[in-house]
């Protein structure tokens, strides 16, 4: 396909990471790029939706309250109560916000006109991961004390002593580096790759449309693929928000558990 495209028109430029760079909308301020504005827009959108939805707190919910409450109840029960256990209520606001924030920003990727998943800029997942990272360390230190926490990580109980030679560095690396790295990287890479995939089919379709007659017909396939993949992406976007929240809940549950 690549060669075919090259032969037809050597002018086709495949989408690259450059398509993820946005110039400031006005001025030179980095605060006014599309992704940054989208992030703040997501806060306004999600914040107002759930505030309005929860405002009446009626026993018999309206449609709006039911919609908000369904998402809330899902996170509260599936990720809070079932994963963390009896102390879950403390963490429900955090898990709920986490899911809502990531989900909204991901879904921007398939919303017409917005069409950019903000989490495909690695800075944003990192900003959110800091919260998860600090939370699960803080919870563990507060619950067990710093000394016991470090000892439990470095010297997992019930293991033959020589194994510590391998296990201790691995454990340390897991708790301090791997977990936050994978959390933010997983989210970023999924959104980045998904958006790139949509770009390939959309830009490809657009390019084909401007080419010869037969290729114009082929653009139809390219565009329908882009539409199909958009729905596929929607699934991935929701799934990634869920996974990020689930893993955070699991890390918190681990921090609260008596043995690591």
């Amino acid at each position: 396909m690549h060669t075919l495209l090259s032969q037809a028109n050597p002018g086709f430029v495949p989408p690259s990471s450059a398509d993820f760079d946005f110039a400031p909308i006005f001025g030179n301020s980095i605060l006014f790029t599309k992704p940054v504005l989208l992030v703040f827009f997501s806060v306004i959108l999600a914040g107002s939706f759930f505030t309005l939805s929860a405002r009446k707190a009626a026993i018999v919910p309206s449609k709006l309250q039911f919609a908000g409450e369904s998402i809330y109840t899902f996170i509260r029960n599936e990720l809070g109560r079932d994963v963390i256990g009896p102390e879950f209520m403390r963490f429900v606001p955090f898990l709920f916000s986490l899911f809502v924030f990531i989900l909204t920003n991901n879904i921007f990727g398939v919303v017409p006109l917005l069409q950019f998943p903000t989490m495909s800029h690695i800075g944003f997942p990192i900003g959110v991961t800091i919260f998860s990272y600090v939370t699960y360390h803080y919870v563990a230190i507060k619950k067990h004390g710093l000394k016991k926490y470090v000892t439990d990580i470095c010297f997992m109980p019930g293991i033959p002593k020589p194994v510590y030679l391998i296990l201790t560095p691995v454990e340390l690396l897991t708790y301090l580096v791997t977990r936050p790295l994978t959390l933010s990287m997983r989210l970023f890479a999924n959104m980045f790759a998904g958006h790139l995939l949509l770009l390939v089919f959309t830009l490809g379709g657009e390019y084909l449309l401007t080419s010869g007659l037969i290729l114009k017909f082929l653009s139809l396939f390219s565009f329908s693929f882009a539409i199909g993949l958009s729905f596929f992406e929607l699934g991935i976007q929701a799934l990634q928000a869920y996974i990020f929240t689930l893993l955070t809940a699991l890390y918190i549950a681990g921090a609260l558990a008596d043995e690591h």
Binding site: S53, E69, G123, F188
Partner: protein, 179 residues
């Protein structure tokens, strides 16, 4: 493939996408922080309240229904017991009344019988007395009349039948007159 898209090296497109921009980390951090505070203050407590109210409404409703049910069945039991009591009471009263009535009836009958006997005997004795009196006075008068009649008969001739009957008739008229 990723290389072709500039995933690892992006010579033509500025910084690699895996190198975070500090400004975006801060924006992500702050934006999430704002949303977290907002939802913690405005959404979660309200959803929890609705959840709690709903649980209470359902459980409270069930409890209230149970209490009402129990009260109703207690009341029913009470009414049934009262009804049975009342029925027993009524039957007893009826029985008593009947017994009392028959006693009274018996008494009345006895009294009436007595009275009747008394009246009958009184009447009988008074009749007897009257009869006696009448008999007495008749006895005297018959005696006197007979004497008088005899004297009259003796005084006049008794030969013819006509005269005889005339004398008797005259005598009777005199008796009638003298009365």
């Amino acid at each position: 493939m990723f290389n072709r898209f500039g995933f690892l090296a992006s010579a033509e497109a500025g910084a690699s996408p895996v190198i975070p921009k500090p400004a975006e980390i801060i924006v992500g951090f702050v934006a999430f922080g704002i949303l977290f505070m907002l939802l913690r203050a405005r959404a979660v407590p309200r959803f929890e309240k609705a959840y709690k109210d709903r649980t209470e409404a359902i459980e409270g409703g069930l409890a209230r229904a149970e209490v009402a049910q129990r009260e109703a069945s207690e009341a029913l039991q009470m009414y049934k017991a009262q009804l049975a009591d009342a029925r027993g009471e009524a039957a007893k009263l009826r029985e008593e009344a009947r017994a009392e009535g028959s006693v009274i009836l018996e008494q009345m009958r006895a009294t009436a019988q007595e009275e009747a006997t008394r009246i009958t005997s009184a009447a009988r004795s008074s009749i007897e007395a009257e009869r006696q009196a009448a008999f007495n006075s008749l006895l005297n008068e018959v005696g006197a009349i007979a004497t008088e009649l005899a004297s009259k008969i003796v005084g006049e001739s008794l030969d013819d039948q006509a005269r005889q009957s005339r004398v008797v008739e005259r005598f009777l008229a005199e008796v009638e007159k003298s009365k």
